[in-house]
């Protein structure tokens, strides 16, 4: 792990009482996943276990329980489209079909160029701005086939995250 990353770990651990360092495991895994090309390998999970002074199994059991953690390499952009009831009432199925056709991939597959992975996820608390997909730390809402295409273009151009960060002040 990079020294700067370990320093951030220390800051995260400091949010919890002494002796309760394990509480920082979710924030730490979020960070590590981002640093490790979007997924958690056994090697990095072992490093987290060593840092937190816990058994590796304690990290594995957490990493496998929460759906935001990926255990295999993914495309650069993971398109996580909400497929729960309210989104489906207003066209989520159509957006998923559109993405499958446009990218030529099925659910849980990655495009040949390594850019896109498509996943179905459960309710994202955006039912009033449905259909919605999550990409990295951000939501893309009120999706139509046309706006979805525009987003894919931004991703191919590499400008997507820069815009989202700017708009959200991150």
């Amino acid at each position: 792990m990079r020294p700067e990353l370990l320093q951030t770990f220390d800051e995260l651990v400091a949010c919890y009482p002494e002796g309760k360092e394990k509480s920082a495991i979710l924030p730490i895994l979020h960070l590590v996943q981002k640093e490790n090309d979007g997924y958690l390998s056994v090697a990095v999970m072992d490093e987290v276990a060593a840092y937190l002074k816990i058994q590796p199994i304690e990290v594995y059991e957490v990493a496998t329980f929460y759906t935001m953690f990926k255990l295999k390499p993914t495309g650069k952009y993971v398109l996580e489209v909400c497929q729960t009831g309210p989104c489906c009432l207003v066209g989520a199925d159509g957006i998923i079909a559109h993405l499958q056709n446009t990218l030529g991939i099925g659910m849980n597959e990655t495009s040949a160029d390594g850019l896109f992975t498509l996943r179905g996820v459960e309710c994202l608390a955006a039912c009033g701005t449905a259909p919605v997909m999550q990409v990295g730390d951000y939501y893309c809402e009120n999706l139509t086939p046309a706006t979805t295409d525009a987003l894919l273009t931004e991703m191919r151009d590499g400008t997507f995250f820069a815009r989202m960060e700017r708009e959200n002040g991150d």
Partner: protein, 433 residues
């Protein structure tokens, strides 16, 4: 239009702490410090505020259960793990007015004697978690957090803790397990969190909307809050409306408005989209019973149905539903109830933590059987089979997830049995889906 407690001044710039304070923000912190802690708890009891996450347990009563004699540290935790399908009100509040929640966290933590408090926010809302962190930094800078707040001698540190994708972590004890760095498996109760909560210490967990209501109650008194609404449904409630309506969004209503006004008034849902007919509503998040048009607008006794805890429950599980989290899902005449129920069944199967067999196995079987009904492979005995499975999960699990997964199924069959039968008889979905 009623009074705004949570979304007041939304049209002004109250996102920054300067704008928020210019509108009277954080005044309740000063006022709270001038009151004995017991008096604050008493005001919250008097307000009649009920937990806005969905369980609707009286907040003041929950506070009064906190073990304040154990000598252990006490913790105050905000449940911002909003994940109930149809519900997006807490997210809206945190996104637009983060300081309303932070002010509520400070006042509530003080009243309960907590010195470390956490906002557990679902991990998918990372950009909102970041907004909250920046707003918390502003509150530290202005002296509302940290050591000796406003010279009161009271210390409080407030942290944002992201989850990582698990509906079950909205269940209070699963949330605490998750906050301790474990899988989100709900705990056996008793002991309750008020005595054995976070790190084995006395803990209170409240929903975002409940906490954001506290500053107003402290400033205006519990009696003033209790004057809003009807009977035991006091105050205002955020309702997040979605589905086939003209104006999806988050609305703050006085509890007591008619369901009909909420659906058809332009100030709220604005009626059914594309001039279609209303078919059914799930009024309180996907876990509460679905009601057909005839029973959502009027009770079985013919009384207008109101947006209150009591009115929506009128008729029990036979002909009523629940206000729940306020996730109001509207379906028009083109909606296939079987497909919709199957979709939610898939959701519950996916989200079951797997700890209790009735829920782990039952949710899987319900999904499987509903899938075959929807896709034309069902038999007529399957319809009773899913109701039987739902009944066998109810009340037989550590947490209420088993009930929440079963109720939508049982109510869909109760009110729309003919649609299930049509799927079986026609060997396929009669709707164009």
């Amino acid at each position: 239009m009623g009074i705004k407690i949570l979304l007041q001044d939304l049209d002004q710039d109250i996102f920054s702490i300067e704008g928020y304070r210019a509108k009277g923000g954080y005044e309740s912190v000063r006022k709270a410090f001038s009151m004995p802690q017991d008096d604050i708890i008493e005001e919250v009891k008097k307000s009649g505020l009920r937990g806005r996450g969905g369980a609707s347990f009286p907040t003041g009563l929950k506070w009064s259960f906190l073990d304040r004699k154990s000598g252990k540290p006490r913790y105050y935790v905000c449940n911002a793990d909003e994940s109930e399908p149809g519900t997006f009100k807490d997210r809206f509040l945190m996104e637009k007015i983060p300081h309303r929640l932070i002010e509520g966290m400070i006042v509530s933590s003080y009243a309960l004697g907590a010195h470390k408090s956490y906002i557990y926010i679902r991990g998918e809302l990372m950009w909102i978690a970041n907004r909250l962190k920046r707003a918390i930094a502003e509150a530290y800078r202005d002296g509302f957090l940290g050591q000796n707040i406003l010279g009161s001698g009271y210390d409080l540190d407030l942290y944002v803790h992201p989850g990582a994708g698990a509906y079950i972590c909205g269940e209070e004890t699963a949330l605490l397990e998750s906050l301790e760095g474990k899988r989100g498996n709900p705990r056996m109760k008793p002991p309750f969190s008020a005595t054995v909560g976070l790190y084995g210490c006395p803990t209170v967990v409240n929903n975002v909307e409940s906490i954001a209501s506290i500053p107003w109650i402290v400033m205006n008194g519990g009696d003033a809050y209790a004057q809003i609404g009807i009977g035991k449904s006091t105050g205002t409630k955020l309702i997040s409306a979605c589905g086939h309506i003209n104006n999806p969004g988050t609305y703050e209503i006085d509890l007591g408005m008619t369901v009909e006004e909420f659906i058809y008034s332009d100030a709220y849902c604005g009626g059914i989209k594309d001039g279609k007919e209303l078919k059914a509503v799930i009024p309180g998040g996907s876990s509460v019973p679905i009601l057909p048009k005839s029973l959502i607008l009027k009770t079985a006794a013919g009384e207008p149905r109101l947006m209150t805890y009591e009115s929506l429950m009128e008729g029990g599980f036979e002909t009523g539903s629940m206000l729940g989290s306020g996730g109001f899902i509207v379906m028009d005449e083109t909606t296939c109830i079987v497909r919709n129920t199957w979709n939610f069944a898939r959701f519950y199967h996916h989200e079951s933590c797997g700890q209790c067999s009735p829920c782990r196995e039952g949710t899987g079987w319900i999904e499987k059987v509903l899938h075959r009904i929807e896709h034309g492979h069902g038999q007529s005995k399957d319809i009773d089979l899913i109701v039987d499975i739902a009944r066998k999960m109810e009340g037989k699990t550590i947490c209420s997830f088993g009930d929440a997964a079963g109720w939508p199924v049982a109510s869909a069959v109760r009110h729309f049995r003919d649609e299930f039968e049509a799927h079986v008889n026609q060997k396929g979905c009669p709707f164009s889906c």
